[in-house]
Protein backbone atom coordinates (compact mmCIF):
# COMPACT_ATOMS: atom_id res chain seq x y z
CA UNK A 1 0.00 0.00 0.00
CA UNK A 2 1.87 3.03 -1.27
CA UNK A 3 -0.56 5.53 0.23
CA UNK A 4 -0.13 4.08 3.72
CA UNK A 5 3.66 4.25 3.51
CA UNK A 6 3.50 7.87 2.54
CA UNK A 7 1.45 8.63 5.59
CA UNK A 8 3.37 6.62 8.15
CA UNK A 9 6.98 7.30 7.19
CA UNK A 10 7.95 10.96 7.12
CA UNK A 11 11.02 11.29 5.05
CA UNK A 12 13.75 13.82 5.76
CA UNK A 13 12.85 16.08 2.88
CA UNK A 14 9.52 17.09 4.46
CA UNK A 15 10.41 20.41 6.16
CA UNK A 16 9.57 20.91 9.85
CA UNK A 17 7.31 23.84 10.82
CA UNK A 18 9.84 25.90 12.75
CA UNK A 19 8.37 29.36 12.38
CA UNK A 20 9.35 32.28 14.57
CA UNK A 21 6.37 33.00 16.85
CA UNK A 22 4.66 36.39 16.85
CA UNK A 23 6.04 38.57 19.68
CA UNK A 24 3.65 40.00 22.26
CA UNK A 25 5.56 42.78 24.12
CA UNK A 26 2.27 44.14 25.54
CA UNK A 27 1.76 40.89 27.42
CA UNK A 28 5.17 41.22 29.08
CA UNK A 29 4.65 44.82 30.18
CA UNK A 30 1.20 43.94 31.54
CA UNK A 31 2.59 41.00 33.49
CA UNK A 32 5.31 43.13 35.11
CA UNK A 33 2.78 45.80 36.16
CA UNK A 34 0.50 43.18 37.70
CA UNK A 35 3.40 41.54 39.57
CA UNK A 36 4.58 44.85 41.04
CA UNK A 37 1.07 45.79 42.18
CA UNK A 38 0.64 42.31 43.71
CA UNK A 39 3.92 42.61 45.61
CA UNK A 40 2.89 46.02 46.97
CA UNK A 41 -0.42 44.60 48.18
CA UNK A 42 1.15 41.63 49.98
CA UNK A 43 3.77 43.94 51.51
CA UNK A 44 1.17 46.25 53.03
CA UNK A 45 -0.78 43.29 54.44
CA UNK A 46 2.35 42.26 56.33
CA UNK A 47 3.74 45.58 57.51
CA UNK A 48 0.52 47.47 58.38
CA UNK A 49 -0.11 46.72 62.09
CA UNK A 50 -3.73 47.90 61.88
CA UNK A 51 -4.75 44.58 60.40
CA UNK A 52 -4.21 42.95 63.80
CA UNK A 53 -3.51 39.52 62.40
CA UNK A 54 -3.14 38.18 65.97
CA UNK A 55 -6.76 39.13 66.70
CA UNK A 56 -7.85 37.58 63.41
CA UNK A 57 -6.10 34.36 64.36
CA UNK A 58 -7.57 34.45 67.84
CA UNK A 59 -11.17 34.67 66.70
CA UNK A 60 -10.91 32.55 63.54
CA UNK A 61 -11.82 29.32 65.34
CA UNK A 62 -13.74 30.82 68.29
CA UNK A 63 -17.03 29.22 69.28
CA UNK A 64 -19.10 32.29 68.47
CA UNK A 65 -17.76 32.55 64.92
CA UNK A 66 -17.99 28.80 64.25
CA UNK A 67 -21.59 28.79 65.53
CA UNK A 68 -22.39 31.61 63.12
CA UNK A 69 -20.65 29.78 60.29
CA UNK A 70 -22.71 26.67 60.99
CA UNK A 71 -25.92 28.72 60.92
CA UNK A 72 -24.86 30.32 57.60
CA UNK A 73 -24.10 26.92 56.04
CA UNK A 74 -27.39 25.52 57.31
CA UNK A 75 -29.38 28.45 55.89
CA UNK A 76 -27.53 28.34 52.55
CA UNK A 77 -28.05 24.60 52.12
CA UNK A 78 -31.72 24.52 53.13
CA UNK A 79 -32.63 27.67 51.18
CA UNK A 80 -30.97 26.26 48.05
CA UNK A 81 -32.76 22.92 48.48
CA UNK A 82 -36.11 24.73 48.71
CA UNK A 83 -35.12 27.02 45.83
CA UNK A 84 -34.03 24.21 43.52
CA UNK A 85 -36.96 21.87 44.24
CA UNK A 86 -39.62 24.57 44.00
CA UNK A 87 -37.81 26.28 41.12
CA UNK A 88 -37.75 23.06 39.08
CA UNK A 89 -41.46 22.51 39.71
CA UNK A 90 -42.13 26.11 38.65
CA UNK A 91 -40.04 25.73 35.48
CA UNK A 92 -41.90 22.55 34.50
CA UNK A 93 -45.22 24.29 35.26
CA UNK A 94 -44.11 27.23 33.12
CA UNK A 95 -43.42 24.87 30.22
CA UNK A 96 -46.81 23.15 30.63
CA UNK A 97 -49.48 23.67 27.99
CA UNK A 98 -52.02 24.06 30.80
CA UNK A 99 -52.64 27.82 30.78
CA UNK A 100 -53.50 28.07 34.50
CA UNK A 101 -50.30 26.21 35.44
CA UNK A 102 -47.99 28.30 33.30
CA UNK A 103 -49.68 31.57 34.29
CA UNK A 104 -49.41 30.68 37.98
CA UNK A 105 -45.70 29.97 37.59
CA UNK A 106 -45.14 33.19 35.66
CA UNK A 107 -47.02 35.15 38.34
CA UNK A 108 -44.91 33.60 41.08
CA UNK A 109 -41.66 34.50 39.34
CA UNK A 110 -42.93 38.01 38.63
CA UNK A 111 -43.85 38.61 42.27
CA UNK A 112 -40.79 37.17 43.98
CA UNK A 113 -38.33 38.74 41.57
CA UNK A 114 -40.19 42.02 41.68
CA UNK A 115 -40.02 42.71 45.42
CA UNK A 116 -36.87 43.21 47.52
CA UNK A 117 -35.67 40.17 49.44
CA UNK A 118 -35.34 42.32 52.54
CA UNK A 119 -39.05 43.15 52.37
CA UNK A 120 -39.94 39.48 51.89
CA UNK A 121 -37.88 38.50 54.94
CA UNK A 122 -39.51 41.11 57.17
CA UNK A 123 -42.90 40.13 55.76
CA UNK A 124 -42.47 36.48 56.77
CA UNK A 125 -41.10 37.48 60.15
CA UNK A 126 -44.19 39.60 60.82
CA UNK A 127 -46.72 37.28 59.21
CA UNK A 128 -48.55 37.03 62.55
CA UNK A 129 -49.77 40.61 62.19
CA UNK A 130 -51.67 39.51 59.05
CA UNK A 131 -52.59 36.00 60.15
CA UNK A 132 -52.35 35.53 63.94
CA UNK A 133 -53.23 31.83 63.56
CA UNK A 134 -52.29 29.42 60.81
CA UNK A 135 -54.47 26.37 60.22
CA UNK A 136 -54.71 23.36 57.96
CA UNK A 137 -58.08 22.06 56.82
CA UNK A 138 -60.55 21.72 53.99
CA UNK A 139 -60.69 24.84 51.75
CA UNK A 140 -63.66 26.98 52.92
CA UNK A 141 -64.51 24.07 55.25
CA UNK A 142 -63.59 22.64 58.64
CA UNK A 143 -60.13 23.12 60.18
CA UNK A 144 -58.02 20.09 61.06
CA UNK A 145 -55.01 21.59 62.87
CA UNK A 146 -54.26 25.14 63.86
CA UNK A 147 -51.50 27.03 65.68
CA UNK A 148 -50.20 30.46 66.53
CA UNK A 149 -48.18 32.08 63.72
CA UNK A 150 -45.61 33.39 66.16
CA UNK A 151 -44.88 29.85 67.31
CA UNK A 152 -45.00 28.24 63.87
CA UNK A 153 -42.89 30.88 62.09
CA UNK A 154 -39.72 31.36 64.12
CA UNK A 155 -36.95 33.70 62.99
CA UNK A 156 -35.21 30.71 61.41
CA UNK A 157 -38.36 29.60 59.56
CA UNK A 158 -39.00 33.15 58.38
CA UNK A 159 -35.42 33.41 57.10
CA UNK A 160 -35.71 30.06 55.37
CA UNK A 161 -39.04 30.92 53.75
CA UNK A 162 -37.80 34.33 52.61
CA UNK A 163 -34.54 33.03 51.14
CA UNK A 164 -35.95 29.77 49.72
CA UNK A 165 -39.09 31.18 48.08
CA UNK A 166 -37.12 34.05 46.58
CA UNK A 167 -34.44 31.70 45.30
CA UNK A 168 -37.12 29.49 43.69
CA UNK A 169 -38.15 32.37 41.42
CA UNK A 170 -34.60 32.80 40.14
CA UNK A 171 -33.93 29.06 39.91
CA UNK A 172 -37.14 28.62 37.90
CA UNK A 173 -35.74 30.90 35.20
CA UNK A 174 -32.40 29.07 35.21
CA UNK A 175 -34.07 25.67 34.89
CA UNK A 176 -36.39 27.01 32.19
CA UNK A 177 -33.38 28.18 30.16
CA UNK A 178 -31.86 24.73 30.64
CA UNK A 179 -35.00 22.95 29.45
CA UNK A 180 -35.19 25.21 26.40
CA UNK A 181 -31.59 24.30 25.52
CA UNK A 182 -32.53 20.65 24.87
CA UNK A 183 -33.32 20.02 21.18
CA UNK A 184 -36.97 19.09 20.48
CA UNK A 185 -35.81 16.00 18.58
CA UNK A 186 -34.95 14.51 21.98
CA UNK A 187 -38.62 14.78 22.93
CA UNK A 188 -39.68 13.07 19.68
CA UNK A 189 -37.22 10.26 20.31
CA UNK A 190 -38.38 9.77 23.90
CA UNK A 191 -42.06 9.82 22.87
CA UNK A 192 -41.48 7.37 20.03
CA UNK A 193 -39.89 4.97 22.51
CA UNK A 194 -43.06 5.08 24.60
CA UNK A 195 -41.59 7.14 27.45
CA UNK A 196 -44.05 9.08 29.62
CA UNK A 197 -43.76 12.85 30.06
CA UNK A 198 -42.38 12.49 33.57
CA UNK A 199 -39.85 9.87 32.48
CA UNK A 200 -38.81 12.04 29.52
CA UNK A 201 -38.28 14.98 31.85
CA UNK A 202 -36.30 12.94 34.39
CA UNK A 203 -34.26 10.71 32.12
CA UNK A 204 -33.80 12.78 28.96
CA UNK A 205 -34.46 16.50 29.36
CA UNK A 206 -33.18 17.43 32.83
CA UNK A 207 -29.87 15.52 32.63
CA UNK A 208 -29.08 17.39 29.41
CA UNK A 209 -30.40 20.68 30.75
CA UNK A 210 -27.96 20.30 33.70
CA UNK A 211 -25.06 21.35 31.50
CA UNK A 212 -26.73 24.73 31.11
CA UNK A 213 -28.21 24.85 34.61
CA UNK A 214 -25.17 24.06 36.78
CA UNK A 215 -22.91 27.10 36.14
CA UNK A 216 -25.57 29.74 36.98
CA UNK A 217 -26.83 27.57 39.85
CA UNK A 218 -23.29 27.46 41.26
CA UNK A 219 -23.30 31.23 41.02
CA UNK A 220 -26.62 31.39 42.85
CA UNK A 221 -25.38 29.07 45.62
CA UNK A 222 -22.28 31.18 46.20
CA UNK A 223 -24.50 34.27 46.09
CA UNK A 224 -26.84 32.68 48.64
CA UNK A 225 -23.91 32.03 50.99
CA UNK A 226 -23.43 35.77 51.29
CA UNK A 227 -27.08 36.78 50.93
CA UNK A 228 -27.79 34.87 54.13
CA UNK A 229 -26.00 37.73 55.92
CA UNK A 230 -29.06 39.95 55.45
CA UNK A 231 -31.09 37.76 57.81
CA UNK A 232 -29.25 39.66 60.54
CA UNK A 233 -32.32 41.96 60.32
CA UNK A 234 -34.23 39.10 61.97
CA UNK A 235 -31.57 39.01 64.69
CA UNK A 236 -30.30 35.63 63.49
CA UNK A 237 -26.66 35.15 64.54
CA UNK A 238 -25.25 33.84 61.25
CA UNK A 239 -21.58 34.31 60.34
CA UNK A 240 -21.52 38.05 59.68
CA UNK A 241 -23.88 38.96 62.52
CA UNK A 242 -21.83 36.82 64.92
CA UNK A 243 -18.73 38.79 63.93
CA UNK A 244 -20.66 42.02 64.40
CA UNK A 245 -21.77 40.93 67.87
CA UNK A 246 -18.13 40.40 68.79
CA UNK A 247 -16.82 43.73 67.51
CA UNK A 248 -19.75 45.56 69.09
CA UNK A 249 -18.16 44.45 72.39
CA UNK A 250 -14.47 44.71 71.53
CA UNK A 251 -14.39 47.49 68.88
CA UNK A 252 -12.04 45.33 66.76
CA UNK A 253 -14.16 45.97 63.70
CA UNK A 254 -11.61 45.34 60.92
CA UNK A 255 -10.08 42.13 62.28
CA UNK A 256 -13.50 40.55 62.79
CA UNK A 257 -14.72 41.53 59.36
CA UNK A 258 -11.56 39.89 58.03
CA UNK A 259 -12.36 36.74 60.03
CA UNK A 260 -15.86 36.60 58.50
CA UNK A 261 -14.54 37.34 55.01
CA UNK A 262 -11.89 34.63 55.25
CA UNK A 263 -14.58 32.10 56.13
CA UNK A 264 -16.79 33.28 53.24
CA UNK A 265 -13.79 32.94 50.90
CA UNK A 266 -12.95 29.49 52.21
CA UNK A 267 -16.49 28.18 51.78
CA UNK A 268 -16.73 29.79 48.32
CA UNK A 269 -13.55 27.97 47.33
CA UNK A 270 -15.00 24.64 48.44
CA UNK A 271 -18.30 25.34 46.66
CA UNK A 272 -16.46 26.28 43.46
CA UNK A 273 -14.60 22.98 43.40
CA UNK A 274 -17.85 21.10 44.07
CA UNK A 275 -19.42 22.97 41.15
CA UNK A 276 -16.55 21.96 38.85
CA UNK A 277 -16.99 18.33 39.85
CA UNK A 278 -20.73 18.40 39.15
CA UNK A 279 -20.13 20.14 35.83
CA UNK A 280 -17.68 17.44 34.83
CA UNK A 281 -20.25 14.79 35.72
CA UNK A 282 -22.94 16.30 33.51
CA UNK A 283 -20.52 16.95 30.66
CA UNK A 284 -20.77 13.24 29.81
CA UNK A 285 -20.98 12.81 26.09
CA UNK A 286 -20.48 16.51 25.40
CA UNK A 287 -17.44 18.04 23.79
CA UNK A 288 -17.26 15.71 20.85
CA UNK A 289 -20.64 16.70 19.50
CA UNK A 290 -22.00 20.07 18.45
CA UNK A 291 -21.72 21.44 21.99
CA UNK A 292 -18.19 21.81 23.34
CA UNK A 293 -16.38 22.25 26.62
CA UNK A 294 -14.76 25.50 27.70
CA UNK A 295 -11.37 24.02 26.90
CA UNK A 296 -12.45 23.24 23.36
CA UNK A 297 -13.98 26.71 23.09
CA UNK A 298 -10.72 28.34 24.16
CA UNK A 299 -8.70 26.22 21.77
CA UNK A 300 -10.76 27.39 18.83
CA UNK A 301 -11.39 30.98 19.90
CA UNK A 302 -7.68 31.63 20.35
CA UNK A 303 -6.54 29.42 17.53
CA UNK A 304 -5.07 32.41 15.70
CA UNK A 305 -2.64 32.81 18.60
CA UNK A 306 -0.17 30.09 17.79
CA UNK A 307 0.88 29.73 21.41
CA UNK A 308 -2.60 28.70 22.53
CA UNK A 309 -2.77 25.99 19.93
CA UNK A 310 -2.38 22.58 21.51
CA UNK A 311 -0.91 19.77 19.40
CA UNK A 312 -4.45 18.26 19.16
CA UNK A 313 -3.95 14.58 19.99
CA UNK A 314 -6.46 13.27 17.46
CA UNK A 315 -9.39 14.99 19.17
CA UNK A 316 -9.99 12.12 21.56
CA UNK A 317 -7.97 13.35 24.51
CA UNK A 318 -9.70 16.73 24.70
CA UNK A 319 -12.77 15.53 26.51
CA UNK A 320 -13.14 11.87 25.69
CA UNK A 321 -16.61 11.26 27.10
CA UNK A 322 -16.10 11.63 30.83
Amino acid sequence: MIADQQETIRTADVPEVKAEPVRHPGNWIGAVVVLVLGAMFVHTLVVNPNFHWKVVGGYFLSGEILGGLLRTLELTALAMVIGICLGTVLAVMRASDNLIMSAAAALYVWFFRGTPLLVQLIFWFNISSLYPRLSLGVPFGPIVVSGSSNVLISAFTAALLGLGLNQAAYTAEIVRAGILSVPVGQLDAAASLGMSNLMTMRRVVLPQAMRVIIPPLGNETIGMLKTTSIVSVLAMPELLYSAQLVYARTYQTMPLLIVASLWYLLVTTVLTSVQLRIERHFARGAGSGPVGTLHEFARRAFAHHARFRTPAPAGAAITGGR
Binding site: P183, S192, G285, A286
Partner: protein
Amino acid sequence: MIPTSDRPMVEADRVWKSFGKTQVLRGISMQVEAGEVVCLLGPSGSGKTTFLRCINHLEKISAGRLLVDGELVGYREHGGKLVERNAREIASQRAEMAMVFQQYNLFPHRTVLENVIEAPVRVKKEPRSEATERGMSMLARVGLADKSSSYPGQLSGGQQQRVAIARALNMRPKLMLFDEPTSALDPELVGEVLDVMRSLAEEGMTMLVVTHEIGFAREAADRVVLMDGGIVLESGPPQQVFLDPQHDRTKAFLSKVL
Protein backbone atom coordinates in the same frame (compact mmCIF):
# COMPACT_ATOMS: atom_id res chain seq x y z
CA MET B 1 -42.34 -12.26 -0.76
CA ILE B 2 -46.01 -11.69 -0.08
CA PRO B 3 -46.75 -12.12 3.62
CA THR B 4 -50.29 -12.93 4.55
CA SER B 5 -52.17 -11.52 7.48
CA ASP B 6 -55.82 -10.97 8.19
CA ARG B 7 -55.45 -7.22 8.69
CA PRO B 8 -53.07 -4.57 7.41
CA MET B 9 -50.36 -3.23 9.73
CA VAL B 10 -51.13 0.37 8.78
CA GLU B 11 -54.45 1.47 7.46
CA ALA B 12 -55.01 5.13 6.58
CA ASP B 13 -58.46 6.19 5.47
CA ARG B 14 -58.71 9.74 4.09
CA VAL B 15 -56.31 11.25 6.63
CA TRP B 16 -56.29 15.04 6.82
CA LYS B 17 -53.91 17.16 8.83
CA SER B 18 -53.65 20.91 9.03
CA PHE B 19 -51.37 23.20 10.98
CA GLY B 20 -53.50 26.29 11.51
CA LYS B 21 -54.67 27.20 8.02
CA THR B 22 -52.04 25.17 6.19
CA GLN B 23 -53.39 21.84 5.03
CA VAL B 24 -50.47 19.45 4.97
CA LEU B 25 -52.33 16.17 4.40
CA ARG B 26 -55.44 16.24 2.24
CA GLY B 27 -57.01 12.83 2.40
CA ILE B 28 -54.26 10.22 2.45
CA SER B 29 -55.50 6.66 2.03
CA MET B 30 -53.10 3.75 1.98
CA GLN B 31 -52.40 0.39 3.51
CA VAL B 32 -49.20 -1.30 4.59
CA GLU B 33 -49.46 -5.06 4.97
CA ALA B 34 -47.52 -6.93 7.65
CA GLY B 35 -44.04 -7.71 6.34
CA GLU B 36 -44.30 -5.16 3.58
CA VAL B 37 -41.68 -2.50 2.85
CA VAL B 38 -43.21 0.71 1.55
CA CYS B 39 -41.22 3.75 0.49
CA LEU B 40 -42.83 7.18 0.60
CA LEU B 41 -41.38 9.43 -2.08
CA GLY B 42 -42.14 12.95 -3.14
CA PRO B 43 -40.80 16.51 -3.18
CA SER B 44 -40.12 18.40 0.07
CA GLY B 45 -43.24 19.75 1.67
CA SER B 46 -45.41 17.03 0.18
CA GLY B 47 -46.45 15.82 3.66
CA LYS B 48 -44.45 12.56 3.83
CA THR B 49 -42.82 13.25 7.16
CA THR B 50 -46.04 14.62 8.66
CA PHE B 51 -47.87 11.46 7.64
CA LEU B 52 -45.18 9.33 9.27
CA ARG B 53 -45.41 11.38 12.47
CA CYS B 54 -49.19 10.97 12.49
CA ILE B 55 -48.80 7.19 12.46
CA ASN B 56 -46.77 7.50 15.67
CA HIS B 57 -49.23 10.07 17.05
CA LEU B 58 -46.42 12.63 17.31
CA GLU B 59 -48.96 14.71 15.39
CA LYS B 60 -52.73 14.47 15.82
CA ILE B 61 -54.72 14.02 12.63
CA SER B 62 -57.53 16.47 11.89
CA ALA B 63 -59.87 14.17 9.99
CA GLY B 64 -60.11 10.61 8.71
CA ARG B 65 -59.11 7.38 10.42
CA LEU B 66 -55.64 5.96 11.06
CA LEU B 67 -55.18 2.43 12.36
CA VAL B 68 -52.07 0.48 13.27
CA ASP B 69 -52.50 -3.27 13.61
CA GLY B 70 -56.26 -2.80 13.70
CA GLU B 71 -56.23 -0.20 16.49
CA LEU B 72 -57.04 3.48 16.08
CA VAL B 73 -53.91 5.52 16.80
CA GLY B 74 -54.44 7.85 19.76
CA TYR B 75 -58.19 7.25 20.00
CA ARG B 76 -60.68 4.62 21.04
CA GLU B 77 -64.12 4.06 19.63
CA HIS B 78 -66.69 4.09 22.39
CA GLY B 79 -70.39 3.83 21.63
CA GLY B 80 -69.90 5.20 18.12
CA LYS B 81 -67.89 8.17 19.43
CA LEU B 82 -64.15 8.80 19.40
CA VAL B 83 -62.50 9.05 22.82
CA GLU B 84 -58.96 10.31 23.17
CA ARG B 85 -56.63 7.74 24.69
CA ASN B 86 -54.74 8.77 27.84
CA ALA B 87 -51.01 9.38 27.87
CA ARG B 88 -50.20 5.90 29.11
CA GLU B 89 -52.20 4.16 26.40
CA ILE B 90 -50.64 6.36 23.72
CA ALA B 91 -47.18 5.60 25.12
CA SER B 92 -47.84 1.88 24.99
CA GLN B 93 -49.11 2.19 21.40
CA ARG B 94 -45.92 4.03 20.51
CA ALA B 95 -43.78 1.39 22.19
CA GLU B 96 -45.14 -1.12 19.66
CA MET B 97 -43.71 0.79 16.72
CA ALA B 98 -40.28 2.30 16.41
CA MET B 99 -39.15 5.42 14.65
CA VAL B 100 -35.80 6.37 13.19
CA PHE B 101 -35.24 10.09 12.68
CA GLN B 102 -33.33 12.14 10.17
CA GLN B 103 -31.24 13.70 12.95
CA TYR B 104 -30.76 10.34 14.79
CA ASN B 105 -31.91 11.93 18.08
CA LEU B 106 -29.75 9.66 20.20
CA PHE B 107 -29.50 10.61 23.87
CA PRO B 108 -26.09 12.34 23.93
CA HIS B 109 -25.60 11.94 27.69
CA ARG B 110 -25.89 8.17 27.58
CA THR B 111 -23.53 5.62 26.08
CA VAL B 112 -24.48 3.67 22.98
CA LEU B 113 -25.54 0.64 25.03
CA GLU B 114 -27.49 2.82 27.50
CA ASN B 115 -29.33 4.36 24.55
CA VAL B 116 -30.25 0.93 23.28
CA ILE B 117 -31.51 -0.48 26.60
CA GLU B 118 -33.12 2.68 28.05
CA ALA B 119 -36.65 2.11 26.77
CA PRO B 120 -36.79 -1.70 27.15
CA VAL B 121 -35.71 -1.34 30.80
CA ARG B 122 -37.65 1.81 31.73
CA VAL B 123 -40.74 1.51 29.55
CA LYS B 124 -41.18 -2.22 29.09
CA LYS B 125 -39.74 -3.03 32.55
CA GLU B 126 -37.54 -5.78 31.17
CA PRO B 127 -34.73 -7.10 33.38
CA ARG B 128 -31.58 -5.11 32.65
CA SER B 129 -29.53 -8.21 31.89
CA GLU B 130 -32.03 -9.40 29.30
CA ALA B 131 -32.26 -5.98 27.61
CA THR B 132 -28.47 -5.69 27.65
CA GLU B 133 -27.93 -9.11 26.13
CA ARG B 134 -30.40 -8.45 23.34
CA GLY B 135 -29.11 -4.87 22.97
CA MET B 136 -25.59 -6.14 22.40
CA SER B 137 -26.82 -8.54 19.74
CA MET B 138 -28.73 -5.67 18.07
CA LEU B 139 -25.54 -3.60 18.12
CA ALA B 140 -23.66 -6.52 16.63
CA ARG B 141 -26.34 -6.70 13.96
CA VAL B 142 -25.68 -3.11 12.88
CA GLY B 143 -21.93 -3.75 13.16
CA LEU B 144 -21.26 -1.63 16.23
CA ALA B 145 -20.76 -4.10 19.10
CA ASP B 146 -17.32 -2.58 19.76
CA LYS B 147 -18.81 0.92 20.24
CA SER B 148 -21.20 -0.03 23.05
CA SER B 149 -19.46 2.13 25.66
CA SER B 150 -18.84 5.14 23.40
CA TYR B 151 -20.93 8.28 23.58
CA PRO B 152 -22.95 9.21 20.49
CA GLY B 153 -20.89 12.37 19.95
CA GLN B 154 -17.81 10.22 19.39
CA LEU B 155 -19.38 8.38 16.47
CA SER B 156 -19.78 9.30 12.81
CA GLY B 157 -23.23 10.17 11.49
CA GLY B 158 -23.62 6.78 9.85
CA GLN B 159 -22.66 5.00 13.07
CA GLN B 160 -25.09 7.14 15.08
CA GLN B 161 -27.91 6.33 12.70
CA ARG B 162 -27.10 2.61 12.98
CA VAL B 163 -27.23 2.94 16.77
CA ALA B 164 -30.62 4.63 16.37
CA ILE B 165 -31.77 1.62 14.34
CA ALA B 166 -30.44 -0.76 17.01
CA ARG B 167 -32.26 1.28 19.66
CA ALA B 168 -35.48 0.99 17.65
CA LEU B 169 -34.98 -2.74 17.06
CA ASN B 170 -34.39 -3.43 20.74
CA MET B 171 -38.02 -2.47 21.36
CA ARG B 172 -38.95 -5.48 19.18
CA PRO B 173 -41.39 -3.32 17.19
CA LYS B 174 -44.02 -4.70 14.86
CA LEU B 175 -43.61 -1.70 12.59
CA MET B 176 -40.64 0.53 11.86
CA LEU B 177 -40.98 4.10 10.64
CA PHE B 178 -37.96 5.71 8.97
CA ASP B 179 -38.01 9.47 8.49
CA GLU B 180 -35.38 10.32 5.87
CA PRO B 181 -32.79 8.23 7.72
CA THR B 182 -29.94 9.05 5.35
CA SER B 183 -30.65 12.69 4.50
CA ALA B 184 -28.33 14.13 7.14
CA LEU B 185 -25.44 11.82 6.25
CA ASP B 186 -22.30 12.43 4.24
CA PRO B 187 -22.60 10.61 0.90
CA GLU B 188 -19.99 7.97 1.77
CA LEU B 189 -21.89 7.04 4.95
CA VAL B 190 -25.29 6.50 3.33
CA GLY B 191 -24.46 3.00 2.16
CA GLU B 192 -23.78 1.50 5.61
CA VAL B 193 -27.20 2.65 6.86
CA LEU B 194 -29.04 1.45 3.77
CA ASP B 195 -27.31 -1.94 4.07
CA VAL B 196 -28.74 -2.39 7.56
CA MET B 197 -32.20 -1.34 6.37
CA ARG B 198 -32.01 -3.68 3.39
CA SER B 199 -31.20 -6.64 5.64
CA LEU B 200 -34.13 -5.73 7.89
CA ALA B 201 -36.41 -5.66 4.86
CA GLU B 202 -35.18 -9.09 3.80
CA GLU B 203 -35.99 -10.49 7.23
CA GLY B 204 -39.59 -9.47 6.84
CA MET B 205 -39.75 -6.37 9.06
CA THR B 206 -42.72 -4.15 8.26
CA MET B 207 -41.21 -0.85 7.22
CA LEU B 208 -42.53 2.50 6.12
CA VAL B 209 -39.65 4.58 4.81
CA VAL B 210 -39.68 8.26 3.86
CA THR B 211 -36.64 8.63 1.66
CA HIS B 212 -34.98 10.38 -1.24
CA GLU B 213 -32.90 7.28 -2.01
CA ILE B 214 -34.51 6.11 -5.24
CA GLY B 215 -31.99 3.27 -5.52
CA PHE B 216 -33.02 1.88 -2.16
CA ALA B 217 -36.71 2.19 -3.04
CA ARG B 218 -36.16 0.36 -6.31
CA GLU B 219 -34.29 -2.56 -4.71
CA ALA B 220 -35.82 -2.97 -1.28
CA ALA B 221 -39.38 -1.70 -1.49
CA ASP B 222 -42.35 -3.93 -2.20
CA ARG B 223 -44.28 -0.82 -3.06
CA VAL B 224 -43.56 2.86 -3.50
CA VAL B 225 -46.04 5.62 -2.79
CA LEU B 226 -45.58 8.98 -4.45
CA MET B 227 -46.95 11.98 -2.57
CA ASP B 228 -47.27 15.61 -3.56
CA GLY B 229 -49.22 18.48 -2.04
CA GLY B 230 -50.64 16.30 0.72
CA ILE B 231 -52.19 13.65 -1.52
CA VAL B 232 -51.07 10.30 -2.90
CA LEU B 233 -50.29 10.74 -6.60
CA GLU B 234 -49.80 7.08 -7.31
CA SER B 235 -48.53 3.90 -5.78
CA GLY B 236 -47.47 0.47 -6.90
CA PRO B 237 -44.47 -1.83 -7.25
CA PRO B 238 -41.29 0.19 -7.85
CA GLN B 239 -40.69 -1.12 -11.39
CA GLN B 240 -44.18 -0.09 -12.42
CA VAL B 241 -44.08 3.38 -10.88
CA PHE B 242 -40.53 4.15 -11.96
CA LEU B 243 -40.76 2.73 -15.48
CA ASP B 244 -44.32 3.59 -16.34
CA PRO B 245 -45.54 6.54 -14.26
CA GLN B 246 -49.15 7.48 -14.95
CA HIS B 247 -49.39 10.93 -13.46
CA ASP B 248 -47.75 13.98 -15.02
CA ARG B 249 -46.49 15.22 -11.67
CA THR B 250 -44.99 11.80 -10.97
CA LYS B 251 -43.17 11.98 -14.27
CA ALA B 252 -41.92 15.48 -13.46
CA PHE B 253 -40.67 14.39 -10.02
CA LEU B 254 -39.03 11.22 -11.31
CA SER B 255 -37.31 13.06 -14.13
CA LYS B 256 -35.54 15.16 -11.48
CA VAL B 257 -34.44 12.35 -9.20
CA LEU B 258 -33.82 9.37 -11.48
